[in-house]
Structures are given as structure tokens and as C-alpha cells.
Symmetry: C2
Subunit: 113 residues, 2 copies
């Protein structure tokens, strides 16, 4: 299982709406994410609109592809698009950052497992 | 178990060194983190120096306090300080972002658990 981190930017005047919407994501969207292979998924939002997402998946490409094939994701992203800086579907504009440290992987190596 | 996310900024000219150092963290530092209650801990670094950290802990305050009491952390942070923008111990300057979405928590609620 790999760990992923992406960043994006919520429009400053939409931060409160973004928080409210994400405090109560549609149950169908939650189940679609789970079924598409997203796990340990959290979003964090700074006061200035920096959005950070973290999730685990067997493969980011497969997890994103599986979501992009769902109707609920299309509807959700269309609503979320109004809250982001930039055009297009928010989930297609996430910028992924490379992982440079993984505690559990290095511990396993250090202990010879 | 709560999930935490912090950001910081690595000096642009030190990004390569930061990557190298974090590809081989001292085993004593790894074990100190584990013993201090840090888990599922990863760091992600963008090409422009934005550093994002993500970890789980029962309590961020307790996990940080437990690390700050170790000699290995003092030595590690003193070496890392040279790589960051800003003065002081890097781990004391992390900016934590509030969590606005947690897939597993909302799934548990949606399914009535």
C-alpha cells in the first residue's frame, strides 16, 4: 500500500463553504471512494486556502481512474469546482508531492525485516 | 487515533540534501519516533521546498513532548535546522493544518456505527 499527498488551493472566500461541505460528504461519495480503493483519506485546510490531501491506495492511478468512472464523483466535482482557484475538475488539478520519508518502511529496513 | 498534517519550508538550495538525509534517517531516530507514539508517519516534499508531514498519534502534544525529551531528537533537529527557512528547531516551527475531512470517520457515521 502506498501513501499519497496532494495539494490544491481553495478560493479564500470559499473556505467556510468548503469546510461545511466536507464535514458532511454525501454517503454515496464516501462509499464510492472506499470501493475505488481510497483509504486512510483525510483533507486538511489552512486559513489561507492551502488544501492538503492524504490517502493510501494500492495505486494512485487505479484509485483515481476508478473514481473518475463514477457518476457520484462527476456530480461532486462539479459542485466543488466552484470552490477552487482555477478551472476544471478539482480532482484533476491536484498536485502530488513525492514522498521523501516513510517511518514504517525505514523501521522495517532498520530492523532487518 | 487522530491524524495530523503539518507544513514547513525547506530552503530551495537544500532540497537535495534534505531528500538524501531523509532517505536514511538514523535508526535511533526512527525508534524514538515509534516509541513516542508517532505512526503512519510520512514526509512529502515539493520541488519548490514545500514540506508536508502526516502522522497519526493518540495526541499530537504527547507525541511531540515525548520526542522533545529525547537526546536523539535534539541532535537530529540541530542538523536539520540548517536545511530549513527560518531560525530555531524545525520541529517547533511546523504549522499544523486542521483536518476538514476524514473518510473513515464519515463512513462509520454514514453506516450507523
Amino acid at each position: 500500500m502506498a501513501r499519497y499527498c496532494f495539494i490544491s488551493r481553495v478560493a479564500p472566500e470559499k473556505i467556510e463553504v468548503y469546510r461545511e461541505r466536507h464535514a458532511a460528504v454525501w454517503p454515496d461519495m464516501l462509499r464510492a471512494l472506499r470501493d475505488a480503493g481510497w483509504s486512510h483519506y483525510s483533507l486538511f485546510l489552512s486559513d489561507d486556502g492551502l488544501l492538503v490531501g492524504h490517502f493510501d491506495a494500492e495505486s494512485r492511478e487505479a484509485a483515481q481512474e476508478a473514481m473518475s468512472n463514477t457518476e457520484v464523483n462527476r456530480l461532486w466535482q462539479a459542485e466543488m469546482a466552484k470552490l477552487f482557484v482555477g478551472d476544471g475538475s478539482p480532482d484533476e488539478e491536484f498536485v502530488y508531492l513525492p514522498e521523501v520519508f516513510n517511518l514504517e518502511e525505514q523501521l522495517a529496513e532498520a530492523e532487518g525485516r
